[in-house]
Symmetry: D3
Subunit: 147 residues, 6 copies
């Protein structure tokens, strides 16, 4: 039932995010029979971050748009990743801060047991800070859910 | 006042963590005039995670043990990183879960302006789950603070 | 000082909510000398849920509109019920989700000791989910406060 | 993709909990091809509540004990239900309070679309309060997750 | 319905706490027909802070020990004050920190309208920090509730 | 490394806030070589409270506006103070409530060791409640951070 070392989906989702050339990463992921995407979003509103990731995941065929169980899995993975970025209150502009984020979404089975089925990982990396250029530091988040 | 692209301290702290051979990473960090360390901790008690990181940071000379302002900066960076790992309630055994984590602590100036002085980044990566082998998934956290 | 089994105000508030024919429930409540009401609210904004319940409670004479202690008791009962519905962050549209709720408010003494005076129970039941028809699941909440 | 009115799993999980004679409820649930169980737990420690529900769900065949994805789904449903009971901090004895709860776990598909597959609902009802007999009021919680 | 300027119960509760000679403060409070007490508690466990305040309030006749509605009002005021002290998670030793606090509890009507009845204010002031002498800074909290 | 009794920065920040004649307080603070300011803000939006305090701190020379580390220290002190005022969710209008606050910001070294350098304290005092005149009670908050 253990995590497969080569298939650590969260680690891959973060490396994909931090990689300056994501092609090598994406190539390795395809070999694992996984599906993934990468995108960017900047906003003072958390719901726009959520929506941008949902849209990208649907457009790239990572989740089936007409199955609620898949949207539900993705939504919770996004919210968990946002906890890492916001560290306390999942709020941005309402507490006078903004984010500029890169995100990645990966879908695949990270476990040795094939019956564990698909899981989804959402990773976020970027900056958070005051709505003033340069007044920001880095933040990261990862959400992992069964799908 | 902007973040220096080469000096993104959070990104380095996470890559150091995820790297299978941390030596290359550590070498690059020394060239930036930064100081860092890496360690491991597994526990059902959040306070043991906090203590393990604090001890490592002091033993490796990353913070001055007799200056409270440095401990204070580190403590808040640890707590922020724990938010990413716990995603909601900074609790482990009290909500029936345990973690096995690798941590890294980095200290240096990530900004172009030398007057921004030192900042500290604490990164956490590992697994969180039920106290049953294999019943776990990955988690990550990053805390960044001025020191 | 114990709760009176027949007078479990939270249980009644929830059953009133879930009942398809609330008349039987309301009849039993009147016999307990209790006062209650039931209503509906759908919104992406938590403050509209709060306002809808406050308005209904005042219009139905459940709280005295010109006594702040009664509004204060009701407000905290509503907020506690919203914790059950939102499960983590008392946020709706700001994290890209919406609710469709039925609510009930009950006022009476659930304890055997008459000196315990009036208490207020606010119950919420309905759906929460993405702002897309069908992309939602059920949620429930209950807040109980002395008044 | 909508919720099927007869198959509102959260509503059933709560009614099963509040019913003085759960047999009628359980009978209706079996006809829906659902599986469920009901139990009791009292504790000052949240992790004991989690463990009691997990044990009951496994013993009654509601989740497969050797599939982590099923334990993971259940765990998050339990934590969400605990949010409704604790309303702010998922803590009991550590903030000087205790619970006496009845719980129910239900598994089945609440949606009209068969492809939505199984979902799990965890409901909690009981009292929360000071560790003094009678110094308590009612609380309720519901967690719903795809499985 | 407004707060009476001379009767701002929270302000009095805080000044009583910060005063080096609390006698003058207590004298003024008696003239307002209010009842209050002051005490100290240091602990790594939040439940001991709660218990110390509850015990002091009962021993000094501020709440009636056999009325749950009064304990309930006090409990929530204590928890709210602890939010100010802990600023995020109502946890102490479990996140490796300890407090040394002075507390005050005041009971009276702060409003111009006599029908607003009694309210209770709990104030906390002291230090929070690592379990190491000197590694701490100040913290304050105030909870106000109708009783 | 201990806090200097005369230099308890949080206590001073609160007394400055509660004082009807802040001149005496400000005079004592200047003698400690500290810098401070006092202001007012009323809003249903938390970000306006944050912005008002940041603006006042910059205008009064308490923080250097072009050093992010100083803005960062102030921001976290403000957020911590807001936890005391909001007691659970750092939200105002979104949960149907408003605040009328006085704030103070102080900068100086509260420790006996000169190497502890400057710290910043943000104190908040005022009322929180429904957006209806008189339907409010007092609240207080204090945030302390190294700068």
């Amino acid at each position: 039932m253990a995590l497969n070392k080569e298939r650590r989906i969260g680690r891959h989702a973060v490396l994909l995010l931090l990689s300056d050339e994501s092609e090598g990463e994406l190539e390795r992921l395809r070999q694992l029979d996984w599906i993934g995407c990468k995108g960017k979003v900047g906003s003072m509103e958390a719901h726009k971050v959520v929506a941008a990731i949902e849209t990208a995941a649907k457009k790239n065929g990572i989740i089936q748009p007409d199955l609620y169980r898949e949207s539900h899995a993705l939504y919770h993975a996004i919210m968990e990743a946002l906890h890492g970025v916001t560290r306390g209150q999942v709020q941005l502009g309402s507490v006078h801060r903004t984010v500029g984020l890169t995100f990645a979404v990966l879908r695949g089975n990270p476990y040795e047991n094939a019956q564990e089925g698909d899981w989804i990982a959402v990773s976020l990396y970027g900056t958070i800070g005051a709505p003033v250029k340069g007044s920001e530091h880095e933040a990261i988040g990862l959400g992992v859910n069964h799908i």
